[in-house]
């Protein structure tokens, strides 16, 4: 009774009028304390891990990939549980997902473009006006 906000029980009652954005039977539940605490503990452990792993030298690019991989896992945990996207409509996930895809396209194409002519610039020192 207490675990499901009445806002959603009511919505189930009058669901036919809420259009395409309504939830299925139980609606998003209140995130239990154990889930919140577990996610927080894992996030802290991953923070320690990402600091610790910096001491190991995998190389400039590989260290970046390891750090980013840990960051992506942390971001997933925050989005899925703290921002309770996991319990919400898939519609919101789609918004975030599309947004992230476009950021990726933006960064990757810019890097590809920059990488094409950067070696040329490296060879020729730019002399500021003196």
């Amino acid at each position: 009774m207490r675990s499901t906000p009445s806002i959603y029980r009511e919505q189930i009652a009058g669901g036919h009028k809420t259009g395409h954005l309504h939830h299925e039977e139980h609606g998003p539940h209140v995130v239990p304390p154990l889930v919140l605490l577990t996610v927080f503990a894992v996030l802290m452990l991953l923070t320690i891990l990402t600091v610790a792993v910096t001491q190991i030298d995998f190389g400039y690019q590989a260290n970046l990939i390891v750090a980013l991989a840990i960051a992506v896992v942390k971001a997933f945990l925050v989005i899925a549980y703290f921002m309770h996207l996991r319990y919400d409509s898939i519609f919101y996930t789609a918004i975030v997902g599309i947004c992230i895809v476009f950021i990726g396209v933006f960064i990757i194409t810019t890097c590809l473009d920059s990488g094409t002519y950067a070696p040329l610039l490296q060879k020729t020192p730019v002399t500021p006006a003196s």
């Binding site: 207490r2 906000p5 009445s6 806002i7 959603y8 029980r9 009511e10 919505q11 009652a13 009058g14 009028k17 809420t18 954005l21 939830h23 209140v30 995130v31 919140l36 927080f40 996030l43 802290m44 923070t47 990402t50 910096t54 001491q55 030298d57 995998f58 190389g59 400039y60 690019q61 590989a62 260290n63 970046l64 750090a67 980013l68 840990i70 960051a71 942390k74 925050v78 989005i79 703290f82 921002m83 309770h84 919400d88 409509s89 919101y92 918004i95 975030v96 599309i98 992230i100 933006f106 960064i107 810019t110 890097c111 990488g115 950067a118 020192p125 730019v126 002399t127 500021p128 003196s130």
Partner: protein, 448 residues
């Protein structure tokens, strides 16, 4: 309330008849253009997620600048990131994660009709935000002390022009003569590839922590510096011919540098891979032991071209843009959380929550003054602090006379504001989760 009347009329139009339905239409929080509280909640959440997506896109532009720059200049990143204090960055990460936990818990409390819990957890979240901003101020101040402020206030900028250093206090002719002496003794090359023939504008640095006798002349970009006294001249190129009492070029600039935990990499002009240079790196790391690299692990020596030296300035441009924009988001988030705490508070608690804003702001400005000794922060901070204290006293006095105590306004039917502000605060956390490893945790050897 006009809203309630309107929705009441709408309820009659629909004539659904269910008890729960009627109850929904009487809810003062239900706007007239929504049918149910649930529909209103979903619409608000959709709007919030679209807004968060635009926020991500905005930061995406900065991440793109970072990616391009890092991909093209690994040596600059490996060198410049050692100016950042990894310990402070990690502590800030932990603080933000903890505040995200308290915020998520506040949302939970609001869904369970626990307004007192919402208010207390919001205050806990605010404490986290304040802690983050305090540490950020310490970090920024440390950068400024190392002449690594944004733009032309960065020592790596070719147009370096430090602010507020009282050049007028000395005889200009004497200063000019002294600068010429310094330049001559350091045998500045007349012309080097990639740099203007004349060195950047020399300046006089007065250390506020010491007497004016410790004034130092610095010719930026050539890393030539010296005291006003002709016998105390420092011309470092990694190997110090330094009078007693001066550790290195940085020591002369700012003796208090190491106490803030940011170990400056040696800024030798000819940063070539020599044993002498490596020793200098070890020394500075020992001095600022808060830094993470064991001595010699960082390939400072990779930064051997004048062009790379200039690019360190751009690294700090990216650093300030990303952390600055993020810091603004933290402040906005804190303001929103005060708003939530206020709405969740009962009538007695409402009295003292709003004065927390000037108290925090004034205290923060006063704190910045205490570490930076910039009087401006005191001039703004003290009145705000005094105003906050006065307001708090008055409101507490008023609260004592309150008879009826009303509860906060959130419930399992109406918790959308808590939820949406929570989402914003988690986004702030999310951005920092990426900023921390990208800015503070760069490691590895260029070209490998």
């Amino acid at each position: 309330m006009s809203d309630a009347t309107t929705t009441h009329a709408a309820g009659h139009d629909h004539a659904d008849g269910h008890g729960a339905q009627d109850h929904a239409h009487h809810d003062p929080h239900l706007a007239h253009h929504f049918d149910t509280m649930g529909q209103q909640m979903e619409s608000g959440k959709l709007g919030m997620w679209v807004f968060l997506a635009t926020e991500l896109l905005m930061f995406g532009g900065l991440f793109c600048a970072y990616a391009v720059y890092r991909a093209n200049h690994p040596d600059v990143f490996i060198y410049a990131h050692t100016y950042l204090n990894m310990t402070l960055g990690a502590v800030n990460t932990a603080i933000l994660l903890a505040s995200s936990l308290t915020m998520a818990w506040a949302v939970r409390c609001s869904q369970l009709n626990n307004n007192r819990g919402v208010m207390l957890l919001c205050l806990a979240t605010l404490l986290g935000g304040a802690g983050f901003m305090v540490i950020k101020a310490i970090e920024y101040n440390s950068k400024f002390e190392h002449h690594l402020a944004p733009g032309i206030f960065n020592q790596y900028n070719t147009g370096y022009a430090p602010k507020g250093d009282a050049v007028g206090m000395v005889n200009p002719q004497g200063l000019k003569k002294r600068i010429d002496e310094l330049a001559a003794s350091a045998s500045l090359p007349a012309k080097r590839p990639g740099i203007a023939a004349t060195p950047a504008q020399p300046y006089l640095f007065l250390d506020p922590n010491a007497g004016s006798a410790d004034a130092a002349i610095i010719i930026p970009h050539y890393n030539v510096s010296g005291d006003l006294s002709p016998t105390q001249m420092i011309a470092t190129d990694g190997t110090p011919a330094v009078p007693a009492g001066h550790g290195d070029a940085h020591g002369a600039v700012k003796p208090a540098a190491a106490s803030h935990g940011t170990a400056p990499p040696p800024t030798g002009e000819h940063a070539t891979p020599t044993p002498a240079h490596g020793t200098a790196a070890d020394n500075t790391h020992a001095a600022g032991s808060a830094d993470h690299a064991p001595g010699g692990a960082m390939p400072f020596t990779d930064l051997n071209s004048e062009l790379s030296r200039q690019r360190v300035n751009t690294f700090f441009g990216i650093y300030y843009c990303m952390t600055g924009l993020h810091g603004v988001h933290v402040l906005v988030g804190m303001a929103l959380i005060v708003w939530i705490a206020y709405r969740a508070a009962n009538s007695f608690q409402k009295a003292w929550i709003l004065p927390l804003i000037p108290l925090f702001l004034g205290g923060y400005l006063a704190f910045i003054y205490s570490i930076s000794h910039e009087r401006m922060f005191l001039y703004f901070g003290l009145p705000v602090l005094a105003f906050g204290a006065l307001w708090m006293v008055v409101r507490l006095g008023q609260a004592m006379t309150l008879k009826a105590v009303t509860d906060g306004e959130f419930s399992d039917r109406y918790f959308a504001p808590v939820d949406l502000v929570g989402l914003y605060w988690h986004l702030v956390d999310l951005i920092w989760i990426f900023l921390f490893p990208l800015l503070y945790l760069i490691h590895g050897h260029a070209g490998s």
